[in-house]
Structures are given as C-alpha cells and as structure tokens.
C-alpha cells in the first residue's frame, strides 16, 4: 500500500485551487496539504492537516523560500500548480512573471528539491490554435496558438505550457500538464462567463461553433487524479458539456443576437471600457467562428478521468 502523499497547491485562493484543497483534505491518500494563495487564505477550511502560506509566486526568491522552507519541512511530494492570472485585460511584466516565471521557478527548484517528485500543472485549452482547416476534436498534438499578435493572456499560457513540456523527461521530476477546457464559473477568468453576463449576447452572424465547457468540480477532480497517478505528459481535460454557442447562450437565459463579425470587436471593446467587463472579442474571434472540442481520450485511458459534473445551467 502506498504511503499518503503531501501536496502543495498553488492558486489556492481561486475557485479551482480552493476546491482542490477541499477535495485533497477529504482524500485519505493525502496526509498534509500546503495551500499557497497569492495574498489571502480566502475561504479555505480549518483543518489540522492544512497549512496556509500566502506567497507571491512571481518572485523567484519567495518561491525558493517556500520550497526550501515550509515545503521541505512538510516533506511535500507533489506540487499542484493551478495559479493563472485571471483577468485578460491586465497586461504587464508583472502578469508575465505571475504566469510564466513562476512556472520556471517551480520547475527548476523542484528538480533539485529533496522531497518533491512530481509537478502537476494546470494549463488551458486556450493554448490551442483554432482555425477552419484544423480538426474539431483537439488532441494533445494539436497545433498551439503561437500567433505573435495574440494577447498576453494567451501568449503567457502558451509559454508556461511549453516551458513545462520542454522539461519533461529531462530530470527525475515527473511533470504533468493538464490542458483544461474553459471552466464556466465566476472568478475563474472564464471569458465565456463574462460574455454571458450580458443580458444580450452578440455573436457573429452565420456561425455557431461547438464549445466544450468544464466545471470547477471536474477540473479539481482531474488534478486530483493526476496527483495520484505516476504517468507523465500532456492531457486534455474536457468537461461534460459540449454544445454550440447559441445553445450555451439560450441555456444561460440570455438573448443571442447575430451581428456582423467585423463590428463585434469594437462593440465589446466599448463594453469593456464602460462596464469593466473582461470579455475580449478579438481574443475569442476564432472560437466564435470555428468549433474546437477537447478530446479527452488520453486522460480517460491513462488518468481514468471522466467528466461527470455537468454545468448547472440557469434555465435547467
């Protein structure tokens, strides 16, 4: 029988990280949980097995102090890195450090850490390129979005993902990258959630692409399964809900209005300026035209991950 593992969870103040911490505390295969929120503990539960240390991971010095301080003291085996900057309109060197340099620091420090043997990193389906001549079902070898003009929100995700992938197999550290479908929930940085916040949702006329959406529960469950598995590599993590954009708008109780695609970018830019909303049409243009659905075959076969929590649509 395997000994219980000790897990460190970054991004523990975000909905996915918080849920993961709770799930790990309910898991008899886990002994100690080190939760690392960015600033505050948030709504994390009180538990003897839980240690909470707020750390700004964009500072490599702080990461070093964390890993070779409390993480070493707690004999952490596995790091579940769920931290991602959530606001698309924020673009700065600080955001880049938060998204990318934190991964670089975690990787290089974990490789020489006395107890850490595995790093599970949450990436994002936004790293994939979506275009008309690419497959609808997105496998792990699907082309990545390396467009130079892509916004920082996407470029950072791609860079962090590739940074982790390039270290796979180079050291004894086991590295797992989970490319999760979009989590449709508040506080997760979901572009679609912000889009659906409007009573009227404008969409490109004549197009109705297929989307795949994930819940916080399934996202945390996938990370938990990766924590307990010995496999390495990249895995797509799809959700239960695969549906067209118009069906998502209807199911969310919104009114979808088809509109000339060329006008949507300035209109949503204006909306962002007025309401402070985070949805950027330019960033979502391709996936609002062409279908892209994550193929979760590899996660099902290797990690035994099967999504089982459908989204609770307001109109259900």
């Amino acid at each position: 029988m395997k000994r219980p593992v000790n897990v460190m969870v970054t991004g523990a103040d975000a909905p996915v990280g918080e849920r993961l911490v709770r799930d790990l505390l309910d898991d008899s295969r886990v002994d100690q949980v080190l939760a690392v929120p960015w600033k505050e503990a948030g709504h994390l539960p009180k538990d003897d097995r839980l240690t909470v240390i707020p750390v700004d991971l964009s500072s490599s010095r702080r990461v070093h102090e964390l890993l070779f301080g409390k993480a070493r003291d707690l004999d952490i085996d596995i790091i579940a890195h769920t931290q991602l900057h959530r606001t698309a309109r924020d673009e700065s060197a600080q955001v880049h450090r938060y998204n990318v340099e934190a991964v670089r620091s975690l990787l290089s420090l974990s490789e020489r850490h006395p107890s850490v043997r595995r790093l599970v990193m949450r990436s994002d389906a936004a790293v994939y390129q979506i275009q008309r001549d690419l497959p609808v079902l997105i496998a792990e070898h699907h082309p990545l979005n390396m467009t130079g003009s892509a916004p920082q929100w996407i470029r950072d995700r791609v860079e962090a993902d590739v940074t982790a992938c390039t270290r796979m197999g180079m050291t004894p550290l086991q590295i797992v990258v989970l490319r999760t479908a979009e989590v449709l929930a508040p506080g997760t940085g979901s572009q679609l959630y912000d889009y659906l916040e409007s009573a009227i949702c404008l969409r490109p006329a004549g197009f109705d692409p297929m989307l795949n959406l994930l819940t916080i529960q399934d996202c945390a469950a996938a990370i938990q399964k990766a924590v307990h598995n010995d496999a390495q590599g990249v895995f797509n993590i799809p959700g239960v809900d695969t549906l067209p954009l118009t069906a998502a708008i209807r199911a969310w109780g919104r009114i979808g209005i088809p509109f000339a695609s060329s006008l949507l970018s300035p209109l949503y830019h204006l909306r962002s300026r007025i309401t402070g909303g985070d949805f950027r049409y330019g960033m979502n243009r391709r996936r609002f035209h062409y279908s892209g659905v994550l193929d979760g075959t590899r996660a099902r076969e290797v990690l035994s991950y099967v999504p089982c929590h459908p989204i609770e649509w307001p109109t259900d």
């Binding site: 008309r132 497959p135 496998a139 004549g206 695969t242 069906a247 279908s291």
Partner: protein, 282 residues
C-alpha cells in the same frame, strides 16, 4: 443556427410522414451531451434536411439509385464519388440516398474542403447535417467511431469542371486511401450521372472566392440548376481493409495504386451509367 433544434423538430414533424420520422428516430448518432455530436450534427436538423432535400430528390432531380445494397449498414467506411455540377447538389443527393437506404439510418459525413466551414450560414447548416471540415484529424475521429465518410477526392477542381470536360474525372487526391488503409475501412465507389449537366458553366472566377478562401467560383449559364435526372450508381466495396494492413498506409506506392484503382472503379461506373441513360432529363 438562426433557430433552435425544437423548431427544426417541429418543422420535420409537420412535414415528414410518421413512418419516416419514426425511422429517423433510430438514427446512428453519438450524442456529446446536449443533443449534438462533437462536430455539431443534430438529429432534428438531419430530419429537417431530409424534409427539405426530399422533394428535390424525388421530384426535381428524380433520383434513380442502383446498387445501394453496397452501402455498409454498420461500421466505418468511405463512400467515394465523382464531383460535379458547380454547386454540391450531388453531395446532398448522396446524403439523402444513404439516409434512405440504410437501416437504422446512417448519415454520410461529408468531408468538405477547408473553406466550407468558413462560409456563414452554409457551414453551420451543413455541420448540423453531418458535414465536417476536411482535416485528417476529423476523418480519423469519425472512422474510429465507426462513421460513414463521404469524400469527393477530385475536390474543388472536380466540381468546377468546364462543360467540355464533363464526366472526365480529375486526378484523385490520395489522403482518403491512406485513411481507409490505416483504419481498415472499405471504400465504396459511387458514380453520379446527371449532375454535370445541371448548371453548364460559362467561366470561373478566382477573385469572387477570395474573401471566403474559395479557390474558384464557377459562373454558371443558368441561374438555378436545370431539372436533370440524377442517377446514382453504387459499386461493390473495394476491400482495402482485407487486402492491406494498417502499416501499409505509409507505403506511398500502395496508396497511389489503390487511389488509381478506386478512380478507375468510379470512372467505370460513370461510363456505364452514361451508356445506360436515355437522355439528360430521362
């Protein structure tokens, strides 16, 4: 789509005979969770498509289908046909022919050129009826899940052939053969006779198609297709699945030989069909 599946269902219920509706209820279909498959096909839109294409099939083009017993009733297969007529009505007629001559009904998943998904409205309408964009990944996923693929290996050069070259097949692309061998799928040849005469072509334009990425847009001599008679001739399956092993999909010589053989089979069916027909409208 501009309207939800419930409206498509209501229209199909109002227009299709009850017997056909019940038959279509048993459609071979893999629901991805909300009534659609992962590629966007929806059974209610398939029923609506059948309702719309039915009068064209029965009364306008008066389709005569022979050899449809060769269409596989289950398992993966690739249906291969000649392409013609300036607009893809041949695909619509084959789609309905397959739907009507399979039980439980199967949808021929048309593998369209890359530009089709980027056509507003048309791309979505076709996707609801089973079309997928022409990428290797889409074809692979469908064959692995046991679907029927409909492929026109001549591509756009086939559909925009000038009048003087009607029924002379353009060279077949070979990607579909590689897929058939790799996924052990039989290839079923089909000849479409009649479509070449539906819209005689004046010329083609590169410029008109540029905004949508269409390589060539045909300029026909008539505003709507002529009521020619369609003849669909299905041939016996070419059992690449039995004659080859999946690893031979990487053998270029074998792939090209098989493609030539399939092209000969389709050309043979076309020539036979032309001899048999008594006139363009008969």
């Amino acid at each position: 789509m501009p309207f939800p599946p419930a409206i498509a269902r209501a229209l199909a219920q109002a227009g299709l005979p009850e017997e056909e509706r019940l038959r279509l209820a048993g459609l071979h279909f893999q629901d991805a969770g909300h009534g659609y498959d992962a590629f966007g096909m929806h059974p209610d839109f398939v029923a609506l498509g059948s309702l719309i294409a039915g009068p064209l099939y029965d009364h306008y083009f008066r389709v005569q289908s022979t050899g449809h017993e060769h269409i596989p009733q289950h398992g993966p297969a690739i249906l291969v046909a000649n392409h013609s007529g300036n607009i893809p009505i041949d695909g619509m007629m084959i789609w309905l022919d397959v739907l009507r001559h399979t039980n439980p009904p199967r949808v021929a998943r048309a593998v369209a050129d890359h530009f089709v998904p980027s056509l507003p409205f048309i791309g979505t309408l076709f996707a609801r009826n089973g079309m997928v964009g022409g990428s290797r990944g889409n074809a692979r996923a469908l064959l692995e899940s046991g679907e029927l693929l409909m492929i026109f290996p001549e591509g756009t050069p086939g559909i925009v052939k000038p009048w003087s070259e009607r029924y002379k097949l353009r060279p077949f692309r070979v990607g579909f053969v590689e897929m058939a061998i790799r996924h052990s799928a039989p290839v079923v040849p089909c000849a479409v006779v009649g479509a070449e005469e539906q819209m005689p072509q004046l010329t083609t334009s590169h410029r008109l198609g540029k905004p949508f990425g269409i390589p060539e847009v045909p300029i026909p001599a008539v505003p709507i297709p002529l009521p020619v008679r369609y003849h669909l001739h299905w041939g016996p399956p070419i059992p690449l699945d039995r004659e080859t092993t999946p690893d031979q999909a990487d053998d270029s010589a074998i792939v090209h030989q098989a493609a030539a053989r399939i092209q000969d089979a389709v050309q043979g069916l076309v020539d036979k069909g032309l001899k048999q027909r008594r006139g363009i409208f008969k």
